[in-house]
Subunit: 312 residues, 2 copies
């Protein structure tokens, strides 16, 4: 009987590799664990988890032999780590392999926003160039000031790229970091008030919930652009709508949202927002690396070897 | 009587500043010069030129007192410089002030292409995310290899930005440059064969005409992406269509085309191409700087002072 349960929406390639290595059971999300026979559940030592549904005490209690939840993704805010740790369940994630992709998408969204590139593309493809004259002038990006909210590994990758666009880098983090030339602010409102682009690269979870508040958005101001590649939970989305709809900030570039994928349709009516479907790590190359790291962690656990990227 | 003729499609702000400084005559393009009375034409010492229509011997002969053509833009391939020089007419352009914007657009187009950002944006705005599941995985950009065809001032700005995306930089130029760590190739085909992204940053004109040939595109290969922010004339567009339509290259990201703005509508049918409407320098900030530099050159000429940015 298998020791492994794979939960989530795996691609055909990922599914095949999981089957070949672990012959797991497959479920769509943690709420379905209870549908398995107790005899099956009692054997499960490892969960390969991919998704954003909460994975909490109830789900863990249904898997009495569980020893590891190997999360696919760097952000494991869907998993109740405190309860897992209390029950002796190890959590792993897939850090670092996705940093480049997420940083690339953040920079791409900033350029798309400033240079109105999605609008320019649609306008051309509608055949307007020949008939309507030149496309509207837009906004210079290089030489702006950037603020990184959360200077972790992904935040640093974003900062390094933006430096090449001649941007001064400001940041907020829980503590001041050893950085060469980056300017530290000890609260998010002060950071927002100092920059043109506020790039959210926080971890998710309770401690960063709605950190981008109405006050932060107000400080960002009418020339300011909010960029979010972290989690929708970090932003007060109601306050963001007010700011975008009344023009108290210049715009936003968002890869993450509340209630994904059922996002608020009010976003679609806004022309000053770049929208991406939570695809920060969504390349063939990086997703393959993430899936391999998830399997490596499960394999290490089942073989009694040290975990590759443990969280707790 | 005015000594200045402004030719081109100036914005209201540019028009007002030209009027306030020079009270010029205004025309749409050089073919209209002959419609002016000879008495007016005989007084014209300076032309402020904005556009891509040819400005050749006939136009110059109709302005016997002409001493300067101050071009709006860094590329002056529309102006017959040899004839101008022969007739003692100075040419100026607007270099450097636009380098950042053009480089920004090049990098933005590379990211949009690899990460399918325009498609992802349209797909979301059509409300597909909730109903159709995750957006298709796409292509990692960071860590690729970039080739700069023409390592002038704009090419270098592009290279510096792409270095921050962990790309190795290769280049072709008329001669090897003093660069730290960039790899020189002595012909464009060899360059194309060595890289993932071939970024064209050549000057326009006869010497670079169709330098991106069928052979170059063939060497670029099925993983290769052509990026052009220079002039449509540098690319064999017929060969490009063949390469794009048959998949012998991966795609293209184009800001410039043959026959702008009446570009070939076959481009609109291609999903593997990022299209932008020749907006490399199209920001409010940079166009204001270009217009100011154009006026400064005219003002210097009329006052007998040294030209700010002479070409010949």
């Amino acid at each position: 009987m298998t020791q492994t349960l794979a939960i989530g929406n795996y691609t055909p390639d990922e599914t095949q590799k999981l089957e070949s290595e672990f012959a797991p059971l497959f479920l769509d999300d943690p709420t379905q664990i209870g549908t398995l026979d107790a005899a099956l559940r009692d054997q499960i030592k490892a969960v390969a988890y991919k998704g954003h549904h909460p994975f909490g005490p109830d789900a863990m209690a249904q898997l009495p032999a569980l020893g590891i939840i190997a999360n696919y993704g760097v952000g494991y805010d869907a998993i109740d780590v405190a309860v897992a740790t209390h029950n002796g369940i190890k959590i792993t994630n897939t850090p670092d392999v996705l940093n480049d992709d997420v940083a690339d998408l953040a920079v791409g969204m900033i350029l798309m926003h400033g240079r109105q590139m999605a609008q320019a593309s649609s306008w051309m493809r509608s055949g307007h160039w020949a008939g309507k004259g030149a496309f509207a002038l837009n906004r210079k990006v290089s030489g702006s000031t950037a603020g990184i909210l959360g200077l972790g590994r992904i935040g640093r990758e974003i900062a390094v790229r933006l430096e090449a666009f001649k941007m001064d880098i400001h940041y907020w983090s829980r503590s001041e970091k050893d950085t060469l030339g980056y300017i530290y602010h000890d609260d998010p409102v002060a950071l927002a008030g100092a920059v043109d682009y506020l790039v959210v690269a926080l971890v998710g979870g309770a401690e960063t919930q709605r950190m981008v508040s109405a006050d932060v958005l107000s400080a960002l101001g009418e020339n300011g652009v909010l960029v979010n590649i972290s989690r929708g939970s970090t932003v007060d989305e109601a306050a963001l709508f007010t700011a975008l709809e009344t023009g108290t900030i210049n715009g936003a570039a968002l890869d993450v949202f509340d209630n994904e994928p059922q996002i608020d349709p009010r976003f679609y009516a806004l022309d000053n927002v770049v929208l991406q479907p939570h695809q920060g790590s969504g390349t063939v190359e990086t997703r393959a690396a993430m899936a391999a790291l998830q399997r490596d962690n499960i394999s290490a656990f089942l073989n009694g070897a040290p975990l590759v990227t443990p969280v707790n």
